[in-house]
């Protein structure tokens, strides 16, 4: 029973990733794509969690954490790029 539910959840997450992927491909502006990417990563986090339940292991919890950090950092970086045009600004007093 639980296995079927987990599999179903995995399929639903895949559908969500596919929908977000459509937004990435067709999204008219860069911010659309950034948000879609963020969503894909969040869905991936959930998928990895479900897979680790399916595989009955705790070894992938670090993967989830790393994905969370990466998603955050990359979203911040991309937003900064959208806002300012650069990601790492030079020091002014040089």
């Amino acid at each position: 029973m639980i296995k079927i539910m987990l599999t179903a959840a995995l399929v639903l997450f895949s559908v969500a990733i596919a929908i977000a992927l459509y937004r990435i491909i067709s999204g008219p502006s860069l911010p659309d794509r950034v948000v879609a990417m963020d969503m894909i990563v969040v869905n991936l986090i959930s998928a990895v969690a479900i897979i680790s339940i399916l595989l009955e292991t705790k070894a992938f919890l670090e993967v989830i954490l790393i994905l969370g950090i990466l998603a955050f950092i990359s979203t911040i970086a991309l937003s900064k790029y959208v806002e300012r045009g650069v990601i790492i600004e030079r020091k002014r007093n040089r």
């Binding site: 990895v48 680790s52 595989l55 292991t57 992938f60 993967v63 790393i66 994905l67 990359s74």
Partner: protein, 801 residues
């Protein structure tokens, strides 16, 4: 190290000190210091004469590379001693001559005598070595020092051309000879000539025997300027005249003769040897004497004459090989050919040396060597004329000079060929005396041209650069000594026969000496009315007739177009080879990395698929595979789609994102195949590298940035498909051909107990196999430093401003 070895390397030692004499003692001509050594060596080698006659040979060994069987074994027998005497004797005379020929003020004497001494030592080494590799070493040293001597006036273009030509041809032959020596070593297991000769009978059936024979002969023919390799010798005449007299008449060009004589006991039983040596010799004789007639330069005539006389000696050595097929020495008339070869070798060295020196004197006194600008020198230079007369008449084979005797013996040997009944000689044998006679007629003609066009007739209209007068005594001394020898050997040939010719002939034909058959040489000036005497008379009559009417038939030399000459062939060959290799290199080295990748991948496909098929290693066994789950299939579809997107994407940005998708999917694969550490690392690395790709993309130049697909190229598609197929096949086959179990069980058992860790991947990385990790850290460090260096270090910008 015996005294004999010291004698061989003494010239090298003195060559080391010559620059010192040249720089420090300026008042005395450097040649005087050099002259001492060959004179001492000549006296030293004279002392060997009785020993060699009575005991046969003297052998001294010094270890060089004993583990490879290469020892510096000096071996003095009749043949080696004959050559050693020629080298040191004529060497002394040439050094004496060069003291007066080369000016102390104008020429760089230090280099000259260094090269000359190097050559002398190398030549002594060639003729006195028993070890083939040592012989080859000295052989190449003669090539190098000859190259240096020909190019002595290196500011002249012709000198450099001649030096290069002789170098290319003789080194080509030298390398072939080395190949022959190695084959001999494979057959007999020894580099010692003595050893090889003792096993000569066992080799005849060996498949390497004929190749070894041909390769060794190639070395001898190139060095001794045999047809068609004679073309370097006329161009080597750009060397100073003492060099021409020494190297290109008396010594170096006879190294090939020496080799043929030395190797005769090994190869001479073979019919191929007989044919190659005698046919090439006789063709060289006729061709070179024919061509000598049309030359106008004194030294060019002498060069072609040298070639033709070398051909004569070579053909005699070839005919002499026939003697081995007749066991009895009594009445063995073919043995006379070997004797004639040895005798003519000595004679040629004497008269040709003196003639070259005469040509040098004429050049020195008039400023030209062109016979069209010479004439009437007889009264101005009577002594030179006398020497030239003796030399040319000896060369033409007239009595009472030594050339007459050897020419008679030559004819006798050639006539004797008619009675040979081996190797089909009944039918073709008649060629030999006919060709020999024709060659001798031309020899007579050019000898007469050399003498009379230079010294008689009217003086040419325009004045010479210098006012000619008799040469100084010092310059005349050497040719006078040689000319005196010509007469002495002509009148009393038997002073040579017992002391040196017999031991030399014994060394060439050891089979008879071993059988205990005494071998007596008796050369007489008058040997009755025989066929050879009539041949000589005919040569003189026909030669005189042709010489008188030379202007009438001279135009036949224009029949052969210049383009078909051997020189043109050589020049064109060089140009063509250069052009072809340049075109070939340009054809495949086109500077495009794409082509090089295609070559690499085609080689990859070719070699791997060939070896897979050849070893019958392809296998599609599917029985030991794990079951495939649904998640793997989904991920595989994603990764395939993403990869194909990379190929067909219109924008580079899409490709980068698709590449990131591939990377993240691989991370998911790692999750699925239970590799958490790999998945972690892969995620982080993929993020960073996508960021770097985006950086590179962002900084693409605006100007040429075009949004277009990768153009389709059939070759690339085929090659990439091939690589994929081959790699897949190998992976499948490798999986099916596992021969041993994995060693993973050891790690599983010992990770906790031995290393005290729970994470097996990390324990392997830092404990079981920590060395790899260390150097991967080093790789990352280098990469970081490299990137930092590339960004910060801008040398070109600093130059600009």
């Amino acid at each position: 190290m015996s005294l004999l070895h010291l004698a061989i390397i003494a010239p090298f030692i003195l060559a080391f000190f010559v620059p010192f004499f040249y720089k420090k003692i300026k008042a005395v001509h450097t040649g005087w210091f050099v002259l001492i050594l060959p004179a001492i060596l000549f006296a030293y080698f004279l002392r060997f004469l009785p020993a060699v006659k009575n005991q046969g040979a003297i052998q001294e060994t010094v270890n060089w590379i004993p583990s490879l069987g290469i020892d510096f074994t000096a071996y003095v027998d009749g043949l080696g001693l004959l050559f050693a005497l020629l080298i040191t004797g004529i060497g002394s005379l040439v050094v004496l001559y060069s003291i007066f020929y080369l000016s102390k003020a104008k020429e760089n004497l230090g280099s000259f005598y260094v090269y000359l001494l190097m050559f002398m030592g190398a030549m002594l080494g060639v003729v006195l070595s028993d070890n083939l590799i040592v012989l080859y070493t000295f052989w190449e040293l003669t090539s190098f020092s000859s190259f240096l001597l020909i190019g002595y006036w290196y500011h002249r273009e012709r000198s450099r051309y001649g030096a290069q030509k002789s170098m290319l041809i003789t080194v080509f032959g030298g390398l072939a000879m080395l190949g022959g020596f190695l084959l001999l070593y494979f057959m007999t297991g020894s580099f010692s000539i003595r050893e090889i000769i003792s096993q000569a009978g066992d080799m005849t059936g060996d498949p390497f025997f004929i190749p070894a024979l041909i390769l060794v002969l190639l070395g001898a023919f190139t060095k001794s300027a045999q047809f068609p390799f004679h073309i370097w010798l006329p161009d080597a005449m750009e060397a100073p005249t003492p060099v021409s007299a020494y190297l290109h008449s008396a010594t170096m060009v006879k190294a090939g003769i020496y080799l043929v004589a030395r190797m005769s006991p090994v190869f001479a039983e073979e019919g191929t040897w007989f044919w190659l040596v005698s046919i090439f010799g006789i063709i060289t004789l006729v061709w070179a004497s024919f061509n000598a007639v049309k030359q106008t330069d004194l030294k060019a005539i002498l060069a072609f004459s040298t070639v033709s006389q070398l051909g004569l000696i070579m053909s005699l050595l070839g005919i002499g090989a026939a003697a081995l097929h007749y066991t009895q020495l009594n009445d063995n008339i073919y043995m006379a050919a070997t004797v004639a070869a040895v005798f003519h070798l000595i004679n040629h060295a004497t008269f040709k040396g003196s003639l070259f020196m005469v040509a040098g004197i004429v050049d020195h006194e008039t400023g030209t060597r062109d016979i069209r600008h010479l004439g009437g020198l007889m009264h101005l230079m009577p002594i030179t004329f006398t020497i030239a007369l003796i030399g040319t008449f000896s060369m033409a084979g007239l009595p009472p000079f030594n050339g007459f005797l050897s020419k008679e013996m030559f004819f006798a040997a050639m006539v004797n060929v008619l009675s040979l009944d081996i190797f089909n000689l009944e039918t073709y044998g008649v060629l030999f005396p006919v060709l020999a006679w024709v060659g001798s007629v031309f020899t007579f003609i050019y000898s007469m041209i050399l003498l009379f066009k230079t010294f008689t007739g009217k003086q040419p209209a325009q004045k010479w650069e210098k006012k000619p007068h008799e040469a100084p005594l010092g310059m005349l001394l050497s040719p006078i000594i040689l000319a005196a020898l010509v007469i002495v050997f002509g009148l009393f040939p038997n002073i040579l026969s017992a002391s040196i010719i017999e031991p030399a002939a014994d060394a060439i034909m050891p089979a008879f000496a071993e059988a205990g058959q005494a071998f007596n040489v008796n050369i007489t000036m008058w040997h009755g009315f025989s066929a050879e005497l009539y041949m000589t008379i005919a040569v003189v009559v026909v030669g005189l007739f042709l010489y008188v009417f030379l202007p009438k038939w001279k135009h036949i030399y224009n029949i052969f177009p210049k383009k078909l000459s051997l020189n043109a062939l050589y020049d064109q060959g060089l140009v063509r080879t250069e052009k072809i290799s340049k075109n070939m290199t340009n054809a495949y080295m086109n500077g495009s990395i794409r082509s090089y990748m295609i070559y690499i991948f085609i080689a990859f496909i070719g070699i791997l698929s060939y070896s897979m098929i050849e070893k019958k290693a392809v296998s599609f066994e599917l029985s030991n595979l794990a079951p495939i789950g649904v998640y793997e299939i989904v991920l595989a579809i994603i990764i395939t789609v993403a990869s194909i997107t990379i190929l067909f994407a219109k924008s580079r940005l899409t490709s980068i994102i698709a590449l990131g998708a591939v990377g993240y999917t691989v991370a998911l694969f790692f999750v699925l195949f239970r590799a958490p550490d790999l998945a972690l690392t892969q995620l982080v690395i993929e993020t960073v590298s996508v960021a770097l790709f985006l950086l590179a993309f962002y900084h693409l130049p605006k100007m040429s940035r075009k949004e277009e697909r990768i153009r389709f190229k059939m070759a690339s598609a085929v090659v990439s498909l091939g690589v994929g197929v081959v790699v897949t096949l190998i992976a499948l086959s490798a999986h099916n051909n596992k021969l041993f179990d994995s060693i993973a069980q050891y790690y599983i058992e010992n990770t906790k107990e031995q290393a005290g860790g729970a994470n097996m991947v990390n324990v392997i990385l830092v404990d079981f196999r920590g060395f790899d990790t260390m150097f991967e850290i080093a790789v990352l460090g280098i990469a970081a430093l490299g990137i930092f260096g590339m960004i910060k270090l801008r040398l070109s910008r600093r130059q600009d401003g």
